[in-house]
Structure formats: structure tokens, C-alpha cells
């Protein structure tokens, strides 16, 4: 056997230490195929070697948790034998190279993670971060990503109900595309990925394997350099129609009591799916690679094992059900092949045309994957001298609502089919969270995606906690009981101490908030090395939250009616640092607002109970986040095309602080009568204050200014159109 050169080992992203560990495990040198397998299995993407130690600290258990991290997706119990399966996953690098296909295949991948477990996807969401609109690539990336996400979900017929989309220069050369999928399954019809049963056949179904994205998994774990624009790796092309066929055929097969274990082929394709299934079941595997359906001629075992062709699944079925399985796939026009079987050797034996071409011990490979406690150090925040502006309330408000991050996102969401499946009660532009009915029932789930990278950059722990709290608050505002989260941790290069600090602190921040709010983590994803030319993105731990609305009539959005009153729940200290207001004034310094999790819990439970108890007097609800009270109110006015009169006796300086501050744990409740809320707040010892009335067609701050809502709407609607037509 030829000895592998140093260069080849390096190209596979393995360190010298890691390579000697491999030799120790094997008691010999690996061949190229085996090296390739080690390299993907031990890549950051598959092995979580830099974050494993810290992820283990996250709270993952709870009364409603059926399945936490470790499976394809997390599962929560929503009663009546119903369960919700969900996860979020990033497709950052591929989307930067080819925005349409990168984003589309991101959606495809996360949907497979969900329906692999037996669930039918019922909602997609996404969290998108683009570079500055001034950056030359941003427009192209924005239009490609949004179209890619829309086209894929629309074709499969799953509503894309919400998410977030914002712009910041730290993403100029490294955008973030995080896709989340939520599925519904009967509790007793959940499928897992643990392989079992000596001799049981392994079935491959879906697209033919091509040379797509070979080494995509290692690529996703390597920092981008300037040349990657030229040396473009092969990108994967998505086929949403194939995904639809896989979804429907798997659902049909899952009724048949035929599947023992099932797993999608995601990153590192056939390698990671077969290794993970076997490793969970402590068994061995025999693969006959010449049987793998191939799209191209002369594909090698190395290419077959490492290909990342999309829309493929792997499953272990009962021997007696092979024929039935193949028939069901045939009905859906799919190619399914028995490519191997489960053994009791504990090894992965790969044959190609009757020759043993690779033989690896499964458990040791999985268990001894490296785990690093990388050094970290608190970064120094640079102070930049800038010329602060001072804006009037009206100027600042208009500037915010016409800014890229707070303009109407209609251009984005109108490309998403939100109404297919007929269960979307609120999509994300209509409330703080999307609300989707559990089909044929009187309950619903509430879903949201959140992160504030500006806060996280300044203070990763607090910023991450605020992200969790905000997602929790969004669910509360929609009338739900928050249950659990998935997270998508997007960071730069963990080998840099400052970045490692951000990672550790963010995970700690998530842990603290999740524990305080009884809001565990059931699944997630980590995306590291989000850097180009040594510049890292802002730390972006995106939180995807899911809650339950037991009575669908309690679902709340931004709705308000003439005559309604708006109450502020919670306290305002006037914290303007890192607020939208300060940023509009060119002031980017300071710290995030403080977060008191006890208060968060208290205010939230008050709102939740009030909605449940006095549903009939609550027209709508909105939490207060970026932009403060005034932006929350303006959003209500714009969304309802109705006027608001805001009362305050504060001095101008105090008023400005109060309107724009971004203090946490606050809500706006839109209420039909005063009596109930005043009484209930007194009982629960909660600070509330009536701050506005729904009246007329103007947005008015009494004695200060007055602007027709129509004009606000115009300001709010302009930016996307102008940007994309440019």
C-alpha cells in the first residue's frame, strides 16, 4: 500500500496528532478511502470537536421533552399523543458560493432531518444575515437566497411562515443562512436512527450519487481564503420534487412497520449516515459499493462514501419487508437499492466489486473523535471615535422604519407560500411568532427565530441570554406556553482565543437563560470558521423557539381595533446603549441592556395568564425589542393601518429615552377595556401603564408630533423595492 503523503493528510484537514491517533486506532496506516472517512467524521461539522465540551452543559431535559440533542432533530410532547419535531441548521458557506442552490439545499436538508423521524413537516422558518447593502455582493446574495428558500419549500408544499432577515457589514463576505423546520408526528410513530439486527438489509433511496460537494463537510469547517472565489468547489443542486417524493414515500412506508432505523444522508453523506446509525446501535456494517446508484461514470468508492448529493436517505428495514419497501418507492418513481447489511463485527466493511476496499472499527472511530478545550481570552472592544448625531424623535423613528433592517419584509415573505396546508394562523409579519394549527385540532404551535448579534458582539453571554429571552417573550406574546428551543451557533474561527471566548460565553448565556425560563435545548447546529480574510462575523447564536397554544382562540398577533387601549407591561430604565436609536445617531458603543430573568419570567407569565384568563378583552400583543416602545407601536399602526395616540407627560429628553430604550422583559398588550388588566396587575404585583389609544389615522405623540399612518407605511415599504431595482 502506498503511504499517504503529508500533503494529502493536510488536505484532509487532519492535524499530525489526529493522524497518529488514527494510526493507533487502526494499528496501521489508513488508505485514502479510510483517510477520507476519518477526515469527514472528525471534521468540526460532524464531530463538534471544539464545542462538544460546552454543548454538554446545556439543559436538555424537561417535562415535555421526548428527545433531546443526539438524534436528527429534537422532539417535544404537546399532548393528545401529538409531538413536535424540530431543528435548525446552517448552510452558510454553500449559500455564499451559490446563493440559490445553497439556500435551497439548506431547506431540503433540514426538512429531511425532520421527516426522517416520522414527522410531516408543517412549517419552515429561516434566519438570514447579509452584509451591508452597500457591499457589491449583497443584492445578488439576497435575491438568490430568498428565491432558493421559497422555491424549495413552495414546491414541497410546506409553508414558510417566518424568520428574520437583516443586514450588517460583519457578514459582507460570509452570510448566514439558517433554516429551521418543524414537523408533527404521533408520539407512538416516531422513528429513530439506531441500527439493529445482524443481517438486516440497508436500503438506499433517492437521488443517484454524483460527485457533488465532495469534502463539503471539511470545507464547511475551513476558513475561507481569498482564493476560494476562484477554486469554487462543486456545489450541490437541490431537487425539491425529489424531496417531495421522498417525503411522501417515507410517510407511506412508515405506516407499514417495516423500518428499523432511518437517517437522511446529510453532511458527509453515506459515510456519516451509516457510521452514525451503526455506532448508535453498536453494530457493524457491510456495504457493497458497486450497488450505489451513481449519476456519473467511473465513480470511486472514495467519491461514493464522501459525496454530498442531496435528497438521499438510508434505512434499515426488516428482511421480510424489503419487497414491500421497494414497491412503495417504485410507486413514487424512486430508485431504491439494497446496498448492504448490518453485521455484528462492529466494523464498517466496504466492498467494491468483491474487493474489501476499506475496513474501519465503528465505535472507536466515533468515540475517540477529538474533543478540544481550546484556549479563550476576552476580546478587547475597540473604541472608535465618531461624530454622534442627535435626532429628533420623529426623525429617528422615520430613519428606523425606512432602514434595511426594519423596513417591511414583504418582498421577502411574499415569495414564500405561507398558506399551503391551510393551517397557518399567523405568519411572522402578523405577530411576534408564527402560529400554525395542529391539523384538525383546536390547538396550535407557535414558532420564532431570534438573535441580536450587536448585543452578542459587545457581551456574548448577555447577548445570548437576551436571544433566548426574546424568543421566549415572542412565544408568550403570541399566546403560547414556551416549551423548548433549537439553536444555531454561528461563529468565526475557534482556534482564535477571542472567538473561542465568544463561543463559550454564548453557550453559557444560553444555558443560564434556558435554565431560568425552563426552556431546554432539544436540538441544534454549530457553524464555525465563518471568517473571510481574517475578519470574523459577529457572534450569532440564533435561537429557534417553539411553544404550545392549547386553545387556538388564544393565538395573538398584532391586531388592534379602533377604541382599543395599549398597556405597557414591565419597566423601562432608559437604556439607550446599542439601541437602534443610538445606532441611527452613529453611536455604536456600550453594552446591551441588563436582563433580569426572574423579572422576565414574572412579566411573561403574567401576560400568558392574562391572555388565557381574559382572552376576550385582548385584541393583540407585541413584545418590545429593537427600536423600543416607539417602534413596537409604529409596527402596530403600520400593520393595522390604524392611528395611535401616545400619551406622556415626560420632558423631551426623558420622553426620547423612554420611547427608544431597549430594556428587556416588556410587552404591549392591546386591550378592549381597562378594568380587567388593572385589577389583575394589582393582584400579581406587575407594573403596567396605559400608554396609547387606538384612534384615527395618525400616529401621534401628544404635544410632540403627528404623522399620518399612510406616510409611515410609505416609508416602511420603500427600501426593498428601491434596493432591488437598483
Amino acid at each position: 500500500m502506498k503511504k499517504l503523503s503529508k500533503k494529502i493528510i493536510e488536505e484532509h484537514g487532519l492535524t499530525e496528532k489526529e493522524f497518529s491517533l488514527i494510526k493507533n486506532i487502526l494499528n496501521r496506516d489508513p488508505n485514502l478511502l479510510e483517510l477520507g472517512i476519518f477526515s469527514v467524521m472528525w471534521s468540526e461539522h460532524c464531530s463538534y470537536k471544539s464545542t462538544k465540551k460546552w454543548l454538554k452543559t446545556l439543559p436538555t431535559r424537561g417535562r415535555r421533552i421526548i428527545c433531546g440533542p443526539g438524534e436528527n432533530a429534537g422532539i417535544i410532547d404537546i399532548g393528545d399523543n401529538d409531538a413536535i419535531v424540530f431543528k435548525m441548521e446552517s448552510h452558510n458557506h454553500p449559500s455564499f458560493i451559490e446563493p440559490y442552490q445553497g439556500a435551497a439545499t439548506g431547506v431540503g436538508g433540514i426538512m429531511r432531518d425532520v421527516f426522517t423521524m416520522g414527522a410531516r413537516p408543517i412549517a419552515n422558518l429561516n434566519s438570514l444575515r447579509f452584509g451591508s447593502p452597500k457591499h457589491s455582493k449583497t443584492k445578488h446574495l439576497l435575491s438568490g437566497v430568498v428565491k432558493g428558500i421559497g422555491d424549495y419549500g413552495n414546491c414541497v408544499g410546506i409553508p414558510t411562515v417566518g424568520g428574520e432577515c437583516s443586514f450588517h457589514e460583519s457578514y459582507n463576505n460570509n452570510i448566514l443562512v439558517n433554516a429551521m423546520c418543524v414537523g408533527l408526528v404521533k408520539k407512538d410513530k416516531i422513528f429513530y436512527s439506531t441500527a439493529k439486527g445482524n443481517g438486516n438489509p440497508i436500503i438506499y433511496v433517492g437521488s443517484k450519487t454524483g460527485r457533488d460537494g465532495i469534502h463539503g463537510a471539511t470545507m464547511a469547517s475551513a476558513e475561507f481564503d481569498e482564493t476560494s472565489n476562484e477554486n469554487r468547489p462543486q456545489v450541490q443542486v437541490g431537487d425539491p420534487f425529489m424531496e417531495k417524493l421522498l417525503l411522501e414515500s417515507c410517510q407511506e412506508l412508515m405506516k407499514e412497520n417495516a423500518i428499523i432505523a432511518i437517517q437522511d444522508m446529510g453532511a458527509a453523506g453515506l459515510t456519516s449516515s451509516s457510521f452514525e446509525m451503526a455506532s448508535k446501535g453498536s453494530c457493524g456494517v457491510k456495504l457493497f459499493l458497486e450497488r450505489v446508484p451513481c449519476r456519473e461514470e467511473n465513480m470511486t468508492p472514495y467519491e461514493m462514501m464522501l459525496s454530498e448529493t442531496q435528497e438521499r436517505m438510508l434505512m434499515i428495514v426488516k428482511p421480510s419487508k424489503v419487497k414491500l419497501t421497494l414497491n412503495i418507492f417504485k410507486k413514487w418513481g424512486l430508485e431504491a437499492v439494497e446496498i448492504g447489511l448490518i453485521t455484528n463485527t462492529g466494523n464498517m466493511e466496504m466492498f467494491f466489486k468483491n474487493k474489501l476496499v476499506g475496513n474501519l472499527p465503528i465505535k472507536p472511530l466515533a468515540d475517540s473523535s477529538p474533543e478540544y478545550d481550546r484556549p479563550s481570552v476576552k476580546p478587547k472592544l475597540k473604541k472608535k471615535k465618531r461624530n454622534y448625531k442627535n435626532l429628533s424623535i420623529e426623525e429617528a423613528l422615520i430613519k428606523i422604519i425606512s432602514s434595511p433592517n426594519h423596513s417591511s419584509k414583504a418582498w421577502v415573505y411574499n415569495q414564500y407560500d405561507r398558506s399551503v396546508m391551510c393551517d397557518t394562523i399567523l405568519s411572522s409579519e402578523q405577530g411576534d411568532a408564527a402560529v400554525v394549527r395542529v391539523h384538525n385540532s383546536n390547538k396550535a404551535i407557535s414558532i420564532t427565530c431570534d438573535c441580536n448579534p450587536v448585543f452578542c458582539k459587545s457581551n456574548p453571554l448577555l447577548g445570548a441570554s437576551i436571544g433566548v429571552a426574546e424568543s421566549w417573550r415572542n412565544l408568550i406574546a403570541s399566546g403560547a406556553e414556551p416549551i423548548a428551543i433549537t439553536d444555531n451557533l454561528n461563529f468565526g474561527n475557534p482556534e482564535k482565543k477571542e472567538i473561542m471566548y465568544q463561543i463559550k460565553q454564548s453557550i453559557k448565556g444560553i444555558k443560564i437563560a434556558c435554565e431560568a425560563l425552563n426552556y431546554p435545548v432539544v436540538s441544534g447546529n454549530v457553524s464555525l470558521y465563518n471568517e473571510t480574510k481574517k475578519k470574523s462575523i459577529f457572534p450569532t447564536p440564533v435561537i429557534g423557539g417553539v411553544g404550545l397554544i392549547k386553545n387556538i382562540n388564544h393565538a395573538k398577533g398584532f391586531k388592534m381595533n379602533e377604541g382599543d387601549k395599549i398597556y405597557l407591561v414591565g419597566e423601562s430604565s432608559g437604556h439607550l446603549e446599542l439601541s437602534e436609536y443610538n445606532m441611527m445617531c452613529n453611536n455604536f458603543e456600550g453594552y446591551p441592556p441588563s436582563l433580569n430573568l426572574k423579572k422576565e419570567l414574572k412579566n411573561g407569565l403574567f401576560v400568558q395568564k392574562f391572555i388565557q384568563k381574559y382572552n376576550n378583552v385582548v385584541s393583540g400583543c407585541h413584545d418590545i425589542s429593537e427600536g423600543g416602545i416607539i417602534l413596537a407601536l409604529a409596527e402596530l399602526a403600520i400593520s393595522n393601518k390604524k392611528g395611535l395616540k401616545i400619551q406622556s407627560k415626560k420632558s423631551l429628553k426623558e420622553l426620547k429615552k423612554w420611547l427608544f430604550c431597549e430594556d428587556q422583559s416588556r410587552y404591549l398588550l392591546i386591550i378592549k377595556s381597562d378594568e380587567e388588566i388593572v385589577r389583575y396587575a394589582k393582584i400579581k404585583k406587575i407594573k403596567i401603564k396605559k400608554i396609547a389609544n387606538v384612534v384615527g389615522e395618525s400616529f401621534t405623540v401628544t404635544n410632540r408630533f403627528d404623522i399620518p399612518v399612510k406616510k409611515l407605511i410609505n416609508y416602511n415599504n420603500k427600501w426593498f423595492k428601491k434596493f432591488l431595482d437598483k
Partner: protein, 77 residues
Amino acid sequence: MIYRVYINFKKGILDPESEAIMKTISRMGFSSIKKVSKGKFFDVEISKTKKGLKDLEKISSDLLSNPVIENFKIIKK
């Protein structure tokens, strides 16, 4: 002057559209049809200057085709 810019997929890129079309053709029973692969073209009218052709090359690579997954070829009509 009119040029035609031909665009097709790079080798090895999945082309689900051509596959779906081929499946339908087989289902229709046309056994004499063996393979279909799709491409697109643009007929571009340019001014008869050196710059015209250079501009055409530029828009062919930057706008009309997607160099990550497609090749293009410019041919005089």
C-alpha cells in the same frame, strides 16, 4: 450584430429538469429517445464595436450564466 450565447450545465451537475423530462418521454413510450439535456441561449444584439464584444463576454459570464454551475459559449449568428 447578433450573437448567440449558449449556456449549459457544467459536467457532473445534477440536472433534475432534464431527468424529469426524460422520465415523462419514457412514460409516453418513445423508446427511440435516449437522452435529453437542457440548455438555454440568449440572442444578444450588440453594437459593431470592439467594446461590444467585450461587453458581451462580460455580461455572459457575470449575468447571463452562473459560472458556479454553468458554462457559456458565444457564437456569431
